[in-house]
Amino acid sequence: MDRRHLLKAAGAALLVPVLAEAQQAPPGSPPGPPPTAIPPGESPNAGPGRVTAFLRIGADGRVTVLTPILEMGQGTHTAHAQIVADELGVPLSAVTVEVAQPEGPFRYTPVNEQYAGASWGVRLIQPRLRRAAAQARAVLVEAAAQRLGVPAGSLTLAEGRITHAASGRSLAVGEVAEAAAALPLPEQPRLQPAAERRLVGQPVPRLDVPAKTRGAAVFGQDVRLPGMLQAVAKLSPAHGAAMAGFDAAPARAVRGVVDVVPLGTRGVAVVATDTWAALKGAEAVVIRVEAALRAAARVVDATYEVPALAHAPLETDNCTVRIQGDAAEAWAPTQHQDWVRAAVAKGAGVAPEKVRVHTTFAGGAFGRRLMVEVAEQAAMVARAVGRPVKLTWPREEEFAQGYYRPAHACRLRAALDAQGKLTGLWFRSAGQSVMGDYRPGFMARGPAILDPFALQAVTDTPYRFGAFRSEWVRTEGPAKSWLWRSVGGSQNAFFLECFLDEVAAATGQDPYALRRALLAHDPRRLRVLQTAAETSGWGTPAPAGRHRGIAFCEIYDSPVAQVAEVSVERGTLRVHRVTVAIDCGEVVNPGQVTAQMEGSVAWGLSAALHEAVTLREGRTEQRNFDAYPILRMEEAPVVETHILTTPGVPVGGVGEPGVPPVAPAVANAIFAATGKRLRSLPLLQHDLRA
């Protein structure tokens, strides 16, 4: 924790932002070089040529990178391959990336679990992979030196071959991999200087794209096992309400239905020979619900409001489980291998060490796939029917049973001096906790209990406001709350950045100039803001009928500024262009940074314009995309991305930091266009006619 945080913490009522730091540098991970050695004992990732915990090198020279991170669409595996190919000295085409079975070296997270989150897929794994690859390079060269009877210092490793220049003799890495795996790893391997990199920093094409254009990539939904049955879930329809009973007879009458398996008090799974029969059976099952529902929270006297949001990944949640004796295997598009392992163990009634977790491609994740209820349910069903089972949540259950970004309300007040200069800011938001139910250990305990994500991008803002007080009030509600791409930043940037625009308007200042003044002490952030402003033409006339809005936010060590260009004609909003500037530190693959900025703008704009989950009688009203519209092609703006780097700043997050500025940039542009200050989302609920 640096001084800035301490000072802010001292001035805040409810504020102990200790665990906000956990997203950046997980406590519990060693301060020095990270562990890369293979743990002693039987390893679930064992295989020939496993030189370090992270790398297996086959006799054929194929390099398999073992990673804790799934490929959920961000090109993370390609970045891993770039890093290893460079550091090891092999061609990119020789590298394959595989998600590891849960094991010690891959549990480098704050809580000693193997999972992906907080935009750390590259930034936290990169130092470990570099070190592992450098160690592998050293032992491969040493093994070759022993084989050739020459000093290791006389050998070079490049393009997968170890060469003795003096004699012209060379060996392929695969020829010495097994011998290298028996050698001790050097503690301080030589790391490749930046000047020698061939792949890192280049927009290398993604390794998974060809399969994804041929329908050949295997997502969780696509797993097929011999003798497998298909199951779909039918769950209690009201949040927080247990199933009191069910009538399975109408489902059993459907041709193809094999069984109806209760899932505790959550609901049932209908098991059938194919998905269609299971869906029809699920439709026929009648679930009886207990009457008592917890009341929804009601918050009054709010200035800004955002609704609950669903992740709605295009692949609905699913898991395939096979139980054999006292062991089980799961195939899952999951972000959290350790939780899947525990869930399957519980559902199947086997020991966690007896569960293997095969991580498939995920059809979107966005935080949703850290939740693993479907894995336990799939195991329960596989156990009940004695056959391998794939359990799928239909789209209707995916919406109804979602783990939502919680609705929040926020009141802000600013203190201004006689010249209109901002001298203090008070930020007070209220909403459900995202950590409180599923990660109570992550709640920071100081003078009060704080969800570390509730004030994300507020307590740790680089802005200097003068006096600054930030507070969060935890509310209760019946629906489940959880991490949603960009988490607290998703609502807090909307609150803070729109409010700063209000301050600018109230004091007759330019919104960009106001933000410049708040970042004047910080050249790196200032440059990001300035780049977005200058490349978007801020301060020059916009094309006819168009108006601009600006916003800035920083999460996961990557400051992002955006300028949205909109028009409002006869009440119809059109977002034409969004200019993005990001400084994400060292860049592994600029092509993927650009792609993530495009995707983040679409994600943020979708929520800003359209999305809202609402409850009635404890039930989610939106059950499919007809009632929960998401951004469509004709609404997608042109996104122009500018990537900045600052020497010496390590890799920052990329998957999430592009999301928070979108809603406020667009809302501020709407204000510029219409004079209407929209203080609640989604924006399209408001009448924009003059």
């Binding site: 794209v209 329908g215 298909q230 194919d274 998905t275 092609m633």
Partner: protein
Amino acid sequence: MIELVVNGEARRLDLDPDMPLLWALRDHLGLTGTKYGCGIAQCGACTVHLDGAAARACQLRLGDLAGKRITTIEGLHPAGDHKVQRAWVAQQVPQCGFCQSGQIMGAAALLAATPKPSDAEIDAAMAGHLCRCGTYQRVRAAIHAAAQG
């Protein structure tokens, strides 16, 4: 018994005539490139070609398909090298990739009917294809590139 042609191959299916083609493809023919996203024709992930035109497999009743020609992503080109697929690789369109089979089938049908589509024609043809990762800008660029190539 329903007889139809899938990816150029005659298939006989002894299945519920009310079953949507989507589940026959995925569960019975092993053609999992066609995805389930919503089941109500809102997302486009299950798009196939029915006698050459784009159609949502979740809405096609098997009983209505006797004698019809169905093409899925696996059958779009024998080597996966259709000009739309090439453009998708060149533009690096996919992120998670789950919607992309449907996007590609939609784009291929559009280009077969309208070889040089305008932006407005692309919007109209692709409006029913949802992408949660937000690859729309690249989808548009790839369709234009395929139209050129």
